[in-house]
């Protein structure tokens, strides 16, 4: 018997490449979901990783940094929050936004 494939649908899933913690501590949503303000996960609602090893949705951590009480500290460990990775444009924009608050 010979089967001729006429057409197929490819399906893929994705997740952020993170060691384990699965929730953003600030909004308590999974990292693979968006922050509460966004609709589409992925490039529109990226994560920021601190040098201290703690991750947050970018929008969540930026909102926290705007507060006076934040004092520039990581909400988890209270070390100065410095983003670890600035390899792409979105990350650099975020870094700039962080630096300006």
């Amino acid at each position: 018997m010979k089967v001729k494939i006429k057409r197929w649908n490819a399906v893929a899933t994705w997740r952020w490449d993170l060691p384990e913690d699965d929730l953003c501590g600030i909004c308590q949503n999974p990292f693979d979901n968006t922050c509460p303000a966004c609709k589409y996960p992925g490039d529109d609602c990226i994560l920021l990783s601190g040098k201290c090893g703690h991750n947050f949705h970018m929008h969540c951590i930026l909102e926290w940094m705007k507060q006076d009480s934040a004092k520039g500290q990581c909400p988890m460990c209270r070390q100065r929050f410095e983003w670890a990775d600035q390899t792409n444009q979105t990350m650099r924009d975020a870094a700039q936004a962080l630096a300006s608050v």
């Binding site: 501590g25 600030i26 988890m76």
Partner: protein, 234 residues
Amino acid sequence: MASTRERRISKELSDLQNDPNSGVSAHPVDNSLLHLKGIFPGPPDTPYAGGTFQVDILIPENYPFKSPVMKFDTKIWHPNVSSVTGAICLDTLGTGWSPVGTIKMALISLRMLLESPNPKDPQDAEVAKMMLEQPEAFAQKAHEWAVKYAGAPRRDTPVHNYQKVAPPPPRADDPARYQGYNKDLIDRFVHMGFDLDAVVEAFNYVGIDRNGGEDYVLEEAYMGDITARLLGEQ
């Protein structure tokens, strides 16, 4: 943002319900997720043991970036809680709030506050004064209030935790203890809370110059070495 914060609260409440071992609980009032009541038992081995304490919780506009506003509904005799209004003085509910904090965590810190009252940073000066000056009377009154307002069973108050600790006898400011270092120089460390003899020992260990007994400004590196020595890090 309103739905954001409500979504987070409802998640927190269901987490609380699924964790009966946490020993604290919370439920909404008036069908609003922005006004809650928290409940927890008085910790054992305290004058509050056996009582049930209710806390009023208001969720502010930009929660979790601002802390929940909490005050005791149940009247309580405690140095960090106003005996009149129930207002609470607790770092984690004020300047020390972090957005990763939760209602559960805040209630657990309140329960811990009942275990370790801190009269040095009072919300109610009258209670704090009593705790410092007549600790046994304080424990007695705290227990009476717990019986009267929090439904605690009456029993012998465990005052053993609240007996007055005699302050150590003041020692003379013996100049020999400074071993030739300037007094002001040494005292700047003593005022940070270190023991005088330990400070002098640390100065000797690091090899700080006596500068003929005159005061001077230490370089930061030396300050660091001295502090490290005092904290037992080297």
